[in-house]
């Protein structure tokens, strides 16, 4: 861990996609630093490159140019296996569509990243129950995703993302599939996660969710057009 608490140091990162009609620049010369405990919202019109930026920060999308350091390590120089390990231990993802595995219970879904990290059975069961209690779903531990509401599924997904105690939690439209009231509950839960020390980057169209962030980045045409701090 870097001494100054810097998690991500992105300098002039760009992402260009080769398309049949010609190259498309999704993210253009973005420079961004994310430190421990940051709470950042990324807003902007559809197709402005928000999700692509989030994926680059989450080490699942390589940059075409620029440098992206995660905890001082140049991500582009890491092997696929090292990047997977980095994501497993340091980064949590929350998706708009939850992506819980339907054949597993809520608890088993939360246990998955722990299992992949080699945590022993008893320890991972204890941790999963703790996390489900944290998100208020301990009573639903044995339920399958099909037996949960949208908000409950997203809470399980957040618990899963927190399983290995990541330093950075990335959420792509976490309230996109939820009604307003449920969305607010998820927003409050994410606030709690951030207050507990986990850096949080949320890509959202929802102004109410974005307004809870300490920093709001406005993107347009792949660039950060403005940054508002609270």
């Amino acid at each position: 861990m870097s001494a100054n608490g810097l998690i991500i140091d992105a300098k002039n990162v760009s992402r260009v996609f080769s398309m049949p009609a010609g190259p498309v620049t999704a993210v253009r010369d973005v420079t961004l630093q994310i430190s421990n405990g940051d709470h950042i919202a990324v807003r902007g019109p559809s197709g402005c490159g928000k999700s692509t930026l989030l994926h680059m920060l989450g080490c699942v999308e390589p940059q075409t140019s620029g440098t992206l350091l995660f905890d001082g390590q140049d991500v582009s120089r890491l092997s696929d296996a090292r990047r997977s390990l980095l994501r497993l231990k340091q980064i949590g993802f929350v998706f708009q569509r939850f992506f819980l595995l339907p054949m597993l219970t809520a608890q088993e879904n939360v246990e998955l990243p722990l299992s992949e990290a080699g945590v022993p059975r008893q320890a991972r069961q204890k941790r999963a129950i703790e996390l489900l209690e944290y998100v208020g779903l301990a009573a639903r531990a044995d339920h399958r995703p099909s037996q949960l509401s949208g908000g409950e599924m997203q809470r399980v997904a957040i618990a899963r993302a927190l399983a290995n105690g990541p330093r950075l939690l990335l959420a792509d439209e976490p309230t996109g599939e939820l009604d307003e009231a449920t969305g607010a509950q998820i927003a409050a839960l994410l606030d709690r996660v951030n207050q507990a020390g986990t850096a949080l980057v949320i890509v959202t169209h929802d102004p109410a969710l974005a307004d809870r962030a300490a920093r709001v980045l406005m993107m347009r045409d792949g660039q950060i057009e403005s940054e508002r701090t609270r």
């Binding site: 699942v60 497993l88 569509r97 990290a117």
Partner: protein, 401 residues
């Protein structure tokens, strides 16, 4: 949760698809197993049939025993063979056509096997006849015979009864004298075919049945070696270069080069087809399953699941389908083999005791090896799909979709 546990849950998630895959592999695996049993079944069974009587060298006038050609001066030849140092015993087999009269109904056409009782055994004991006694005792006297189950059943004669037969030893057209012989036993003749009837007795009994017209010819001389059968066969060839002496292994080898080759070729072709079909079936099932879960797989990769882990999950899924189907294929294959064996043995000229499908450990080992290869090959494409899955693009597509 390890890869196998995860794969099991993935299979249970789609029970209909998993069942279809497992049943498909079971059916294809059963055929594959049968083809492997068939590929060597005849050879193993024939070798067993030849070895069963304890005779390890067969001397005949033609390339293969049973070709119809006869050995002239057979008795003298057998005596000369039995004096060879490597030979323990030699037995002459002479076959004649007979008709067994019945009180009512048409006569039964049968083959009469007459065997000598000569031996080089120092104890001078009688040689074992090339048939197995099921009831009663073996024929010894000039007027004693053993009959097969078919004759016993059709003419309702059991040991202690008598049959009247007309045997033709020289030519089919000769006038057949009627002879009454006592039935002392019911026997199984290993090379008897389904539609054939056979009686057995001493050479003297055959001579009596043929009215003394046996001549000096014989169909076969069966030899038992003291040691190496190859040495005995070579010694016989040196002694009488004009006749053919072959060890049981050589006889099987010659059969392999002729009729048995077809079964081997058929089984090879069908093995290839069944394995290809199994590979295609599993590949399609796994590919469809993987394509339906691309979003989940991309999410797992984003959460830190390694490329090798998601590949292992797919391989484990393939192994579970093929493994479970493969286990089911064994009893299914044995059941199918038994039915097919019955059908194939109905072909004319096939000895009743010969089997087309014979279980061998080697066949089981090849079956398992082929199924393992099937599980791996079938998983190659879906493994390639998950290992090269672009995580971000897939997550993006899932949201847009």
């Amino acid at each position: 949760m390890n890869a196998i546990g995860f794969a099991w849950r993935s299979l249970v998630r789609q029970p209909a698809r998993a069942t279809l895959g497992i049943l498909g592999v079971a059916a294809v695996g059963a055929l594959l197993f049968d083809m492997l049993l068939l590929s060597r079944g005849l050879i193993v069974s024939m070798q067993d049939l030849l070895d069963r009587g304890g005779w390890d060298v067969r001397v005949s006038a033609g390339e293969l025993p049973g070709s119809g050609l006869r050995i002239s001066g057979a008795i003298e030849t057998a005596e000369a063979i039995s004096t060879l140092p490597s030979v323990q015993a030699a037995l002459v087999v002479r076959t004649a056509t007979t008709q067994i009269d019945r009180a009512s109904g048409r006569p039964i056409r049968a083959s009469f096997q007459g065997v000598t009782t000569r031996s080089a055994d120092p104890a001078g004991s009688r040689l074992r006849a090339p048939w197995t006694i099921l009831r009663g005792r073996d024929a010894e006297g000039r007027n004693e015979v053993v009959i097969d189950e078919k004759i016993a059943s059709e003419s309702r004669i059991e040991p202690g009864g008598e049959i009247t037969l007309r045997a033709s030893c020289i030519a089919d057209l000769e006038a057949l004298p009627a002879t009454r012989l006592r039935v002392v036993g019911v026997a199984e003749f290993p090379f008897q075919t389904t539609n054939e009837s056979t009686i057995g007795g001493t050479f003297d009994a055959l001579e009596a049945a043929c009215g003394g017209n046996v001549g000096t010819e014989a169909d076969l001389i069966l030899v038992t070696s003291k040691g190496d059968a190859d040495v005995t066969a070579e010694a016989v060839r040196t002694l009488r270069p004009e006749i053919r002496a072959a060890t049981n292994t050589e006889v099987v080898g010659r059969l392999q080069q002729t009729g048995f080759t077809y079964f081997r070729q058929i089984s090879s072709v069908l093995t290839t087809v069944t394995v290809s079909f199994a590979v295609l079936l599993i590949t399609v099932l796994l590919t469809v399953s993987v394509n339906q879960r691309l979003g989940e797989i991309a999410a797992l990769r984003a959460l830190g699941f390694s490329r090798s882990r998601v590949v292992k999950d797919v391989l484990s899924e393939s192994a579970l389908i093929v493994g479970t189907g493969g286990l089911l294929s064994l009893p299914l294959g044995l059941l199918l083999a038994s039915g097919l064996d019955r059908i194939l043995k109905g072909m004319p000229g096939i000895p009743v005791a010969l089997h087309f499908f014979v279980f061998e450990t080697e066949a089981l080992a090849i079956h398992i090896a082929l199924l393992v290869a099937t599980a791996i090959i079938a998983a190659l494409y879906p493994m390639h799909v998950v290992s090269t899955l672009p995580i971000a693009a897939t997550l993006r597509d899932e949201v847009i979709g």
